[in-house]
């Protein structure tokens, strides 16, 4: 599906490497995934905490994302409980953010005069992060391939200045570029010499089977509940001790344990809202503590900046 007739579409890993090179050339620091279980790239502290405050911040990274309830035991061609997001944060949002983004699509082999690229209204909101923004889902021939958002608030605080966030769904994009209908058929890497190509299924099919089973059937709910409480308490302690980065880790932990409890089906509709509010309080508290710990420096370095 790439441009030139002879050109072979990028493998999954080459697509990531191409995006790294593209955003690196535009001044982004290429970070590595955060080493905790999160539901989306937005949870990485490089997005959540760093989108607050006046400092310029330009980063790109891949974030493995876990959504326990989306697991299908490896039997659904599109649904996974673990997948990858490619996340770009540019603060302040540059005037040519759309053009930069479209350039990245061209770099991975999507020709906008052959494929129909569209910006379709989609406002983003994360109730567990107390965050919202306006933007679009980007369609390629009718398929959503990216979430494009101008952050307006994070942790309940105004983003000043606003950061632009791009979240690419890597598996979808790769399935599109490689023209495959089943995620497990994706070419993860190409064959080189005697070394055979590796498929996405080679890497992840067994993971999907085992983790779907664990998420839905095995995980011990008592220890998940206990873990949630412990993370909640530890988050508060860390906030009190003025180590907001550590506090935020615990907020992430609580959020993931809550997702697992949902997958286990032990949280009723009424309780659900309550748990989400508790996670939101942790995230907001961490954001506030982060701001408190930095604002003296921010105010000194950026005269005129206020919360």
């Amino acid at each position: 599906m790439a441009d030139g007739a002879d050109e072979k579409p990028l493998s999954f890993q080459d697509m990531i490497l191409t995006l790294h090179a593209y955003w690196s050339a535009r001044g982004c620091a290429i970070l590595q995934p955060y080493d905790m279980r999160v539901g989306a790239g937005t949870f990485h502290p490089a997005t959540t905490l760093r989108s607050l405050g006046p400092e310029p911040w330009n980063v790109a990274y891949v974030q493995p994302s876990r959504r326990p309830t989306d697991g299908r035991y490896g039997e659904n061609p599109n649904r996974l409980q673990h997948y990858y997001q490619y996340q770009v944060i540019l603060k302040p949002s540059p005037a040519d953010l759309q053009e930069q983004y479209l350039g990245s699509l061209a770099a991975i082999g999507i020709d906008p005069l052959l494929h129909d690229i569209r910006f379709v209204e989609d406002d983003w909101e994360s109730p567990t992060l107390g965050a919202w923004g306006l933007g679009w889902e980007v369609w390629c021939d009718g398929m959503e391939v990216t979430q494009f958002t101008y952050f307006q608030q994070m942790g309940g605080f105004d983003c000043k200045p606003v950061a632009g966030e791009l979240t690419y769904g890597l598996e979808r994009l790769a399935m599109y570029i490689q023209n495959v209908d089943n995620v497990y058929d994706l070419r993860f890497s190409d064959a080189v010499g005697d070394v055979a190509a590796v498929s996405y299924g080679d890497v992840f099919l067994e993971n999907e089977r085992q983790f779907s089973k664990w998420n839905f059937e095995v995980a011990d709910t008592d220890s998940l509940f206990a873990g949630f409480k412990a993370a909640e308490a530890e988050c508060q302690r860390a906030i009190a001790a003025n180590v907001p980065l550590a506090a935020y880790d615990q907020a992430i932990e609580a959020s993931h344990l809550f997702n697992l409890l949902q997958a286990r089906g032990v949280i009723s509709v009424q309780e659900r809202a309550n748990y989400m509010a508790r996670v939101r309080d942790l995230a907001k508290g961490s954001c506030k503590a982060w701001i408190d710990s930095q604002s003296e420096r921010w105010t000194a370095q950026y005269p005129g900046w206020t919360l």
Partner: protein
């Protein structure tokens, strides 16, 4: 006279906001220019996803000089008044004119160049623009006061004649340059004037006129379907939405796997429309065909083959989901699905949906067995009501809530339930609004009526959630309108109050509701109001409905409306109008008479008295017999027979005769007269 062009370019404006944005731009532009004294006649507003454009033709080059005259205080007034006037006008005392002891201020305002007016108006319009949702962006957003727009504002073109209107908002300066199509012509293009704007954009693959894009989509989609021997299912909402998503719309036909057609057509259409913004197509026989029309935003190099292939894949994935739901849902019977309703809260004070289903089933069965809904098998009514809400817990309705009812009907038929039951499940939410079909099949009528009566009584009566003002969170007005429409359409004869009571009587004590003299009155007033709304379109006068309702005790809506209609016909006649005048005169006299003293004369004092007495003696029994027999036109005729005698009475006698016994007699006659009229309708409620 000079033409003016304004273009506000931004990142993609949501399609659903573009019509509102055009109206807002027009409103603000007119307000700004009219405040400066410039009249705007010929105004065109266009929108695309990336720009709002305004062309005002034949504007004057300058505003007219005006001389304004303000009247001030008298010259003899206290000095504070003069000081105030000077402050207000900004003049000195020696600049005022003293005309016959009154100060006048004459203020000459010179004309202004229209270009200057526009240069001030543009930033004001942009800053004052109201969007349903707006945002901050970029470096400027480090400050809370930065400009807000629907998405980042990226450029301003403002040209008066061929001159640039210099202005600047939040770092964006007006210029001659804009951009063409995002992919076909990404570079800058220079606009010369309002005259060449649309054509220059067209050359750069942008059709700026939204209506033109709409016709391209409307016609192009129909043609794409017709070329394949198919017929487009028209959808004006989709036309407008796709026109709001494209600057260069290209409708393309694609096909999907025929095997998906086993899924109900409504599901396919909804999936295609809501999720993908595609049109669907029918075959020559009018059945849904395996095709769709998507609207691309480019003239693709390959004619759109890749685009169609990509869209087909996305739709196939969506339809696979839908088919999966369709198959999963049918692995259980509706009765099995219905068991899960016990887990869904209907309202925290009113129990679960399963509780509601039980109530509705009982009520539907009762409506049938009492003959209130004629020719209806009570067992079928109960069965249909028991299953009517089961589809709420199916996967399909979970995905597409707007398919509630419809899916239940499909599933009912698929499991072999009778058509009467399946139709009732499908249609029991009807009528959804004024103009929607009103059920007529007996089982459907019983379930639809019971469902609405239940919603209404539970919220209105038991937990006192009567609508107030614009607040009607449980849509009780709609439920009441539905009840009225079903009753009238099917000419159902029953006492509404008794049926409403039947729907809740078991629960009144538990909720501490006092029915008699309290709830029943509130209900009557509410239904009278709804009936007026419901009948407004049919041209039935609201005051006449009041006139019949005011008699009290009439809550058989069919009979009530028949009486109102006869009354309305009567009021349109000369007899009716004169009788109303006579009634009002009589009522006035009676009101002013107060306590009647003395004993009434035993016999009619004059011939006019005797004639009225005789007329009343004849009309009263005739009217009441006619009302009794529901012959309301006859009842009106009986009243009409009073018109000549009452006119002659007022003509011939003086009610307030000096002789107390005669006065008392005549007041008695008038009282009988108004009483006779009230036997048909409360004329005091009639306007005019």
């Amino acid at each position: 006279m000079t033409d003016f062009l304004l273009e506000l370019r931004s990142e993609e404006i949501p399609a659903r906001m573009q019509a509102g944005a055009r109206a807002e731009l027009e409103k603000l532009f007119r307000a700004q220019l009219s405040a400066a004294g410039i009249n705007v006649d010929d105004l065109t507003i266009w929108s695309t996803p990336r720009r709002l454009a305004l062309i005002a033709r034949d504007l004057p080059d300058a505003t007219a000089a005006v001389s304004e005259e303000l009247k001030g205080p008298r010259s003899s007034a206290p000095p504070q008044a003069l000081e105030g006037f000077l402050r207000k006008t900004g003049l000195r005392q020696d600049q005022l004119e003293d005309r016959g002891g009154v100060y006048f201020a004459v203020i000459d305002k010179p004309g202004r160049a229209t270009a200057d007016v526009l240069a001030e108006a543009i930033p004001a319009i942009i800053r004052g623009f109201s969007w349903p949702k707006s945002m901050r962006w970029g470096k400027a957003s480090a400050s809370s006061e930065s400009l807000r727009w629907v998405r980042p504002l990226s450029g301003i073109v403002a040209i008066f004649g061929e001159e640039l209107i210099p202005c600047e908002v939040s770092g964006i300066s007006a210029g001659f340059a804009t951009r063409g199509h995002r992919f076909h012509c990404p570079g800058e293009i220079t606009i010369g004037s309002a005259g060449d704007y649309a054509e220059k954009l067209r050359a750069c693959h942008v059709i700026v006129d939204h209506e033109e894009r709409q016709s391209i989509i409307r016609d192009g989609a129909a043609r794409a379907a017709a070329d394949a021997g198919l017929r487009l299912v028209e959808d004006e909402g989709l036309v407008i939405e796709n026109a709001g998503l494209t600057e260069w719309p290209v409708p393309l036909l694609g096909r999907f796997d025929e095997a998906f057609l086993e899924v109900p057509p409504e599901v396919i259409q909804l999936t295609a429309r809501v999720n993908q913004k595609y049109f669907v197509v029918n075959d020559a026989g009018g059945n849904l065909a395996n095709g769709f029309v998507c609207t691309a935003n480019i003239d693709a190099k390959d004619g759109g083959a890749e685009i169609v292939a990509g869209n087909r894949k996305v739709l196939a994935a969506r339809l696979s989901d839908a088919r999966f739901f369709w198959e999963q849902d049918q692995k259980k019977t509706l009765a099995q699905h219905a068991e899960k309703l016990a887990n869904i809260t209907f309202h925290e004070k009113l129990g679960t949906v399963a509780d509601k289903v039980k109530r509705v089933a009982k009520l539907a069965e009762w409506l049938a067995s009492e003959g209130i809904v004629p020719n209806c098998d009570p067992a079928l009514a109960r069965r249909a009501a028991e299953l009517a809400k089961a589809d709420l817990v199916t996967e399909m309705v979970g995905e597409f809530p707007e398919l509630q009812g419809l899916m239940g009907g499909y599933y009912a038929r698929a499991e072999g339930l009778s058509d009467a039951v399946a139709d009732a499940i499908r249609d029991h939410y009807k009528p959804v609004g004024q103009g929607d079909d009103v059920p007529t099949a007996p089982v459907t009528v019983a379930v639809a009526l019971a469902d609405k009566l239940d919603v209404f009584t539970q919220f209105f009566v038991l937990i006192d959630e009567a609508p107030t003002g614009s607040k009607d969170p449980f849509a009780l007005r709609r439920a009441a309108l539905g009840v009225i429409a079903i009753i009238l359409r099917n000419q159902l004869r029953f006492r509404l109050e008794q049926v409403l009571l039947k729907a809740v009587e078991g629960d009144l004590d538990q909720f501490g509701v006092v029915w008699e003299g309290h709830t029943e009155k509130k209900l009557a007033a509410f239904f009278a109001d709804r009936l007026k709304v419901q009948q407004r379109e049919a041209g039935v006068r609201h005051d006449l409905i009041d006139a019949v309702f005011a008699l009290g005790g009439e809550d058989d809506l069919v009979r009530l409306l028949a009486r109102v209609k006869a009354l309305q016909a009567f009021m349109a006649t000369e007899d009716g109008a004169n009788l109303l005048a006579g009634y009002k005169r009589a009522a006035n006299i009676l009101k002013q008479a107060g306590e009647v003293s003395g004993t009434a004369a035993a016999t009619p004092p004059t011939e006019a008295d005797a004639a009225l007495l005789a007329a009343l003696d004849a009309a009263e029994p005739a009217a009441s017999a006619a009302v009794e027999g529901e012959r309301f036109t006859d009842a009106m005729a009986a009243l009409a027979s009073l018109r000549a005698p009452i006119d002659a009475f007022f003509e011939g006698v003086m009610v307030n005769d000096p002789d107390d016994s005669i006065r008392a007699y005549r007041l008695g006659l008038l009282s009988r007269f108004t009483g006779a009229v009230h036997g048909v309708a409360d004329f005091s409620k009639i306007e005019g």
